[in-house]
């Protein structure tokens, strides 16, 4: 069993309620932070912990906090990003649903460190019942003196507000989220200015993911140095992985980033192997935006070394032969899955979610979906593959926000690693409508040049 810092208490009956959470030692860390620590020392511990943002980009949290501007007389805000809409990702939901007070405790400590008196949780609109759970927890925490005015007699005021979105993946992007929180369409802003300088209502704002902010509790509890000892290299602490697709045990797992990808997939403690005795074909290891890898490049790097579930190892080989940790949405495809079709559903997703501000993203996502649809339905030409490649290249790096890249990468990686399957679809127009390309050579050992 690996170390559990976030989900350690997830199975304690009633842990969702204040009384049980408190009895299990909850809010003791917030008390320590507010009464015994200075703002600077809290930020310092978070820096020492090496905690990287768990929302997808992996930016060091302590560093982000130290960028927040502190102009005289202007309120600052912490915003918790609970928009969680990246396909394959459902870890934040789990944390909020089962451990709402852990998140509130993390928010309280972080709000204190950043000087946020009004902190907002921006939760995706569809998680309506989760929003209710959070609201209930806020009422309990307020009743018990952990939120409100003059908390623990320290003179610090803090209120946490739940704000429900209304169905838009793009609102997970931090500046779109801020726009949405201001009651507008979720159109990302051009940066700079960065939110740390001018964010919500043009005030200095820090946006962090749910898991990032919950992790502040164990960091302050054990100290940044101790936290950093868990894991490996720059992948410190624990990470939540939401595993789904064709595995025996889909669900949310907390790992200490030293486990190999192979162990994570096949051990009974985690995914429990591929479902129905099938073979592993491919995996999207960090949410739908990150490059898909065939089985052989997933379990071992191109150099033939074991691949591990951490930031560095998952990206080993760059986009040519590696992928990314991303949001921790781990999607497994078995031998019966069609890569063209899977890529098509993702292309449709990004077309649907593009906010439409930049032409390469708005038009390009539409074209990619159309061409993939054509190939998938047995009407493709070989030149369509090159056209797809060309379109994704023209989107990447040419847009206001990273959604454009996120739409381009899955298409690029599918062509890069599964070109054979695309060609098979095109050359076998009828057959491809009734049968599947299958596993083929995608799990074969890679020849590593000496």
């Amino acid at each position: 069993m690996g170390v559990k810092l976030l989900l350690e208490k997830a199975n304690v009956p009633g842990i969702r309620t204040y009384d049980v959470y408190r009895r299990e030692g909850g809010y003791a860390t917030a008390e320590k932070a507010l009464k015994e620590m200075t703002i600077e020392s809290i930020v310092e511990e978070v820096k020492k912990s090496g905690l990287r943002g768990r929302g997808g980009a992996g930016f060091p949290a302590g560093m982000k906090w130290s960028f927040i501007a502190k102009p005289e007389g202007v309120p600052r805000h912490l915003v918790c990003n609970a928009d969680e809409s990246e396909p394959g990702t459902f870890k934040d939901r789990y944390l909020m649903e089962f451990l709402p007070h852990l998140l509130l405790e993390g928010l309280l400590i972080s709000s204190f460190a950043l000087g946020s008196n009004d902190t907002y949780i921006y939760i995706r609109g569809e998680y309506a019942w989760v929003a209710d759970i959070l609201e209930e927890a806020i009422v309990e925490a307020t009743k018990n003196g952990w939120l409100g005015k003059n908390i623990l007699g320290t003179g610090f005021d803090c209120m946490i507000h739940v704000h429900r979105g209304a169905g838009a993946y793009i609102c997970g992007e931090e500046t779109a989220l801020i726009e949405s929180l201001e009651g507008k369409r979720g159109n990302p802003r051009i940066k700079p200015p960065f939110p740390a300088i001018q964010g919500l209502w043009m005030r200095p704002t820090v946006v962090n993911n749910v898991e990032t902010l919950a992790a502040v509790v164990p960091i302050i509890k054990m100290g940044g140095d101790e936290y950093a000892k868990i894991g490996v290299g720059r992948s410190t602490g624990t990470k939540l992985i939401s595993a789904c697709g064709n595995i025996n045990k889909p669900g949310v797992y907390e790992i200490d980033m030293t486990i190999s990808v192979e162990d994570f997939i096949y051990s009974d403690e985690y995914c429990g192997g591929i479902a129905n005795g099938k073979k592993l074909k491919a995996c999207i290891p960090g949410g739908s935006s990150v490059p898909i890898l065939p089985a052989n490049l997933l379990l071992k790097t191109a150099k033939g070394e074991t691949r591990y579930m951490n930031y560095e190892s998952l990206s080993d080989g760059g986009f040519a032969t590696g992928s990314m940790m991303g949001s921790g949405g781990f999607i497994i495809l078995d031998e019966d899955q069609c890569i063209v079709k899977n890529t098509l559903t993702l292309a449709r997703f990004y077309r649907h979610e593009s906010c439409g501000q930049c032409s390469p993203c708005r038009e390009g996502t539409g074209w990619m979906e159309k061409i993939l649809q054509k190939i998938e339905s047995g009407k493709g030409e070989v030149s369509d593959i090159d056209l797809l490649w060309d379109i994704q290249r023209k989107i990447e790096g040419n847009t206001i926000c990273p959604l454009g890249d996120a739409a381009a990468w899955p298409v690029a990686a599918a062509i890069r690693h599964f070109r054979d399957e695309f060609e098979w679809h095109i050359h076998n127009r009828e057959l491809s409508q009734t049968s599947n390309f299958g596993l083929q050579h995608y799990a074969d050992p890679i020849h590593v040049p000496a």
Binding site: F90, R93, H163, G165, G183, R185, I284, Q337, T345
Partner: protein, 167 residues
Amino acid sequence: MSLQFNNEQMTEFKRLVARYPEGKQKSALLPVLHLAQDSFGGWLTTEAMDYVSVLLNIEPIEVYEVATFYSMYNLKPVGKFVFEVCQTGPCMISGSENIITYIQQQLGIKPGETTQDGIFTLKLVECLGACGYAPMMQVGKIYREHLTKEKVDAIIAEYRMQVAAKN
């Protein structure tokens, strides 16, 4: 104006607006639109949107442009129960297509349509953050997960009973 929040809804409206600083009441727009949709029959009429603009003291266009941007706001009438079935990759590889076909057969409608009796609407939606519990759909506030044909039958029967009980 004929359409208005009742007392209870008005209390909720005030609670929502109070979350934001003075003068930033526009921030409450998304939550208030949810409230309006829930209060006025499951979709947003122009009248409802205009009412919201008056309450928040903003221009009607500021409401329309938001209502049309977000997928959860219905701009057309919908059935009493809206089946929003996820069709994105992780659900697709876990069998969502069969479930979608099955629901279409059972209800006799295509995606985007409402049954003649006005009870059910079928919508295909993108990832709802339940990929590990696929196939799945959202119905109102709740998620129906690990769907099978049998489960779909039971769910349809359950909602039909609810409607029958009210009549």
